[in-house]
Amino acid sequence: MNAQHFAEVFKQYDWEAVKAKIAQCTPAMVEGSLAKSRKNLDDFLTLLSPAASPYLEAMAQQAQQLTIQRFGKTIQLYAPLYVSNECQNICTYCGFSMDNKIRRKTLSATELVMEALALKSMGVDHVLLVSGEANKIVDRAYFERAIQTLSPYFSQISIEVQPLDQPDYELLQAAGTHAVLVYQETYHQEVYKQYHPKGKKSNFDYRLATPDRIAQSGFHKIGLGVLLGLEDWRVDSFFNALHIDYLQKRYWKTKYSVSFPRLRPAQGIIEPNFIMEDRDLLQLICAYRLWNPDLEISISTREREKFRNHIIGLGVTSMSAASKTNPGGYVVDPQSLEQFEISDERSMEEIKAIIRQAGYDPVMKDWDSSYSGRVYG
């Protein structure tokens, strides 16, 4: 089969069937998967199953060894730069949701520079621009200008914004954007509709096809993930891996990363439906690493200090630090509405010290703007 869109692959799978398959995994299957030197998607499914939970220590040891071999003893650091909390979607779990009656803020060019300078003073060189989805206020032209404004300050600029059409992505790629992060939130179609009742985001299929559009626009990297807490994390993560597997085979020049947004408290949002424990998250991270030694694995400040201290060396390759999740959060407008409460409020220097203590090298720069077609100096 040579699928042209992920939807063609996706429709061959049934949520309940995948769920049943995960439940039917046995210890013997787990041991079989662990013994293989190359693990496929079936092994990934086995390794995230409840049957694999007692094997977590063995998984962690393999994950550590594979990560050191492929990525070395390094952790890439980055920080998010929230540019706007305007949003025309209703997402019942998100602080930026349109029905959340709060003051909205979008950074001007001058404010972007002020935030950039604050990040630079912390040593940040890889930055992730984040916004809500408000196509009339923060549109492609806004992001293009923002990237041009920020270009002199950062070696690598990535974006996590609303899904766009391919011509818009092509312009942002040409402007020097390194990567695009877009999360499906959940691959359960009916549940997706319940959580996204209104706005452009309610279109499941458009979002599902977004990584194809991103890849076809020539970006160096695509970040995927599911919002952990909306549905059964095991089933959702299988579909996320299925998505990465399809993309990796079709768009072989692109790098892939996976993130693990676990639902966090925010103003006016609901409690998560499915609770994911630390142990579950570690199992999932290890399963991803064992299945895919080349995948970049990112952990944000949503996670607690203790978990972040110990996850270094267990599959993770990049971490955000000292993050503010509100536009202007670093200097311009520290009181504006945040998307979620972070759990690890330590400074960049403190995080670097923790990484060094673990025997790892905190890396600030691992890209050159010239590879993104941006030349300064």
Partner: protein, 257 residues
Amino acid sequence: MSNLIIANKTFSSRLFLGTGKFGNLQQMQDAICAAESELVTMALKRVDLQQPEDELLAALQLPNINLLPNTSGARNAQEAVLAAQLAREALQTNWLKLEIHPDPRYLLPDPIETLKATEELAKLGFIVLPYIHADPVLCKRLEDAGTAAVMPLGAPIGSNKGLKTVDFLEIIIEQSRVPVVVDAGIGAPSHAAYAMELGADAVLVNTAIASAQDPVAMAIAFKQAVVAGRMAYEAGLAKASNQAVASSPLTSFLLED
């Protein structure tokens, strides 16, 4: 052990080192010194060329160490040539390890783009050392393009699998008019010694040292293996044979009267 000459430079060490994947800069420095390496490669994307006090660059200012900037991250000839020019300007060296791997998973080199970039960079006055598949024809084409050396891989980068391409490496070594540096896949000192015994001019090692429990001790082990392998090559290895050659049943009639 004879010296190695690449372009206009003489090296007494035939062990080149990569600088990635170390747990900290001190460890990297210690490993380089212990290996007595004289040429170390460093990814351009890791250093801030605008910043004279860049930490990695500062850590590599060691006596007797030549820097070999590499273009890891470039997906095509155009990106590599641009990065090379920026590096030459900032680092004041025209030496370049050309790496073009559009495949971010196995980091396998693109032969077409690599040849194109080598032609262009050689014309621009660079000393080019391209990272390539163990492809003997490509090596000859690169020679014609003006390459200073060739760096064929032993196995996928970072795999520690050893000389999986040995049959092709032997052809390359036999035919080459430029130094052959076996790069990538060397996971143990025995692999490095084997490459040197085959007649490779040098080896480049990174993961096997940086990821070792004790990188400094591993660097010393590699240093000794490279010396041993080279000395054996220069001493003239006795050929292995599967059968004894005591009598000459087919030709002994010549001795008969």
